[in-house]
Symmetry: C2
Subunit: 453 residues, 2 copies
């Protein structure tokens, strides 16, 4: 007789438990779960949470575990509540432009379903083909279209949430506007499962749009790439996409799948716009800023190929890590600075990497000032891993000094807890803790995530 | 020797106190303040709040007092903290598209300042020429452009807030994206001074746009007007503005300032779009839905005139109330339903008004499903006022039954506290109270507002 006898559907197979231990944040601690449950209804989630509260067992909610900050990693002795079986699109309402979904619905599944009625769900995290809307909401996921269309939280109208004591809370609305009380919806968005378990999501949709037009511009140095970004925004343009790849990434992508990228370039910008005249203006501004090579896609196929190169950034860097070390790994960082400080951040990252003798490739959403430095380490060598973490910390320190934030879109999870404390300061941290305590006094919901211990 | 001796700058002139008692919500209770202060720095706000905490004096923050829900009304014995003297535009950063302002900056002042560098601050509440950004943020103000550009909260990136104990909290960021911890910024937006006093605001700006093109369409019945709204959205259009006036308003505006409006029409839609082809499509959809008369403005002057008619809705209804009764008054309501339920709501309002023999004019943001029924009452006749409040309550009941919310943009204040409780239900209300208690345990910040007693 164990406490698990009171928990129908609990899975405890050791191999299975291992497979649920962690998300995609490499080199990040993960505990050993007690069991896994995969509820199919809100009532089952309520029963599970009540059981956990009764037995003082920590609860870690998971979606597709594609997160990059360890937010979904197990803590020792926890119950993993996997939401992937709650994967029903409950409703798509074309005239009101909303959809109601369960949290386990995959982003791509929702995107395709609403496309069938001429609508669009804009948030497009890199993981969109596999990550769930629940996970996207829990982490307030970003993506490439955010520069024009904003992040997940802009599209969440209402939630159903199971609270720490098992009560079911409904937040928000189905109407375009509403100010009835404190904005609890957006308090739960990005809370990484620490305030409640999301069991239903009402999202706003937008009209479908034609695929934007695309160009690439290569730059002889980071200053000129940063200058191009500034010129584009100062000119009042609203690019649909404005991505950056540094030289390390360019070389890695070209090795991974050759497509004729100029690997001598110090930086590449990938831009998109909805109107030809806007893309032409962006092209000219890139040239004005010093780009010697601007290439506009002439059709959708070419545009898709350019986007594909950007999407290959992550696997290409993984391959680079494996080629560099037998057990190479990547510490994936996520930092955002005011757009005008991009070049300074890029230059600082290069200096920091050189100082520690570590390879760092930078890719990111230049239009949002949001960069992902990918730090290559040798898992077999503690010194290499330690050097990687020092690089990570120095990049954080630099980003905050430039007026930035320690996470633009990946979330805090385990990776950024201490930097969150630095960024928020004591008053900010106190208020965050007060909110957590008000909603989860026993600290059973994803304990140790977001807020430092 | 009174407790006020410890509060430099406290004003207690009785006439002055009276002038600070209430916002623009007619027929709404207001208490008698103890004193008024008008701080000019965050440090002064800190000193004031610490004084209030020490003496157990309730604190009511005010902007321009243009609110419509009594949120800024005095409570008995309170200290009014008027933020109008903190009216500095601290910074406009063109390349990063942000502005930093003190709360007392008037919306129009910010809008004009950023227009000088080719930028735009979209939120445009009806009161924009006089209301403050601080008040707009505290109430999460809407406006006419929300249908395309969203409400105030979409533009607030970060805040400085003086907490109930006098500590200064900084929330948010200056970067386009950021997910560092719980979204405290949006928790404070719309909290109506009940969680803290906002002393600085960082807002996102957008590129300036040309004034949109405008049309009016008149409809023989509400069903056809509602149908037109549905057709416009179902067709995937994104109007820059989509406003509705009912027959009572049309007649009132025409009496107030004749401009040839068809006062036989049951409803008028005012629409705007950024592109000619979109406005043409909207015109055709209005005709398809049964509008017998669609009139497109041919230039900016005509477009401005159409908007002016809409802006006259409120003074025209006030005049109607004064003409109907010697001491006529208006109870201004604010309700939002899913867009597809607009016609039902309009018809129900007409029936409710007729049942109680009360004049109700409806104006609102049709594209957001957000209507403002304006209820005419005779202040000298308690039965008339009581009938007005019954109409108000029945409209609320109807709106919630249609899947709506009790306030689309005016906020809860005093007027909607009980309806908030109905809308949220016991769990929602408990969580709202838990947040309030976590941040203001002594209940000194604007007590009795938002949450029911």
């Amino acid at each position: 007789m164990t406490i698990l006898d009171g928990l129908p559907g609990a899975l405890t197979d050791p191999d299975l438990l291992t497979s649920y231990r962690r998300d995609e944040a490499d080199l990040c601690e993960a505990g050993q779960p007690l069991a896994v449950v995969r509820p199919t209804t809100t009532d089952e989630v309520v029963a599970v949470v009540k059981w956990a509260a009764q037995h003082g067992v920590p609860v870690v909610a998971q979606g597709a575990r594609t997160g990059l900050a360890g937010g979904a990693n197990a803590v020792d002795g926890c119950l993993i509540v996997s939401m992937v079986n709650m994967d029903r699109i409950v409703e798509v309402d074309r005239s009101n432009r909303i959809a109601v979904v369960q949290p386990g619905v995959v982003n791509a599944a929702l995107s395709r379903a609403v496309a069938q009625v001429g609508l669009r769900y804009p948030p497009d995290p890199g993981s969109w083909e596999t990550s769930t809307i629940g996970g996207n909401v829990a982490t307030n996921a970003g993506g490439m279209c955010c520069v024009k269309y904003g992040v997940t939280t802009e599209y969440v109208l209402g939630l159903e949430v199971v609270l720490a004591d098992g009560r079911v809370l409904r937040t928000g609305r189905r109407t375009p506007k509403g100010v009835a009380g404190y904005d609890l919806t957006r308090l739960f968005v990005g809370s990484e499962g620490t305030l409640g378990i999301i069991t239903e999501i009402t999202v706003a949709l937008r009209p479908a749009i034609a695929d934007p037009l695309t160009l690439v511009a290569v730059f002889p140095n980071t200053a000129s790439a940063g200058d191009a970004v500034n010129r584009i925004f100062t000119a009042g343009l609203a690019p649909a996409l404005l991505e950056l790849l540094d030289q390390v990434h360019l070389a890695a992508i070209e090795r991974y799948q050759p497509m004729g990228l100029n690997t001598q370039a110090k930086a590449l910008l990938l831009a998109a716009a909805d109107r030809t005249e806007d893309l032409d203006a962006i092209a000219q501004l890139c040239r004005d800023a010093g780009s010697g090579e601007v290439w506009q896609a002439t059709d959708a196929t070419e545009a898709a190929e350019l986007l594909q190169a950007r999407r290959r950034a992550h696997p290409a860097m993984e391959k680079l890590a494996m080629e560099t070390y037998e057990h190479g790994g990547l510490i994936i960082d996520d930092i955002a600075v005011p757009r005008t400080r991009l070049a300074e951040l890029l230059d600082s990252i290069e200096l920091i990497a050189a100082k520690h003798g570590v390879t760092v490739g930078v890719v990111g959403h230049a239009g949002d000032g949001n960069l992902h430095p990918n730090i290559v380490v040798n898992r077999d060598d503690p010194d290499s891993v330690a050097a990687g973490h020092r690089v990570f910390d120095e990049i954080m320190e630099c980003g905050l000094a430039l007026g930035g934030t320690c996470t633009g879109e990946h979330g805090v999870g385990l990776l950024k807890r201490d930097w969150l404390a630095t960024e928020l300061g004591p008053v900010g941290l106190d208020v965050q803790r007060a909110i957590k305590t008000a909603l989860d006094p026993a600290n059973l919901l994803n304990p140790g995530k977001v807020l430092p211990l």
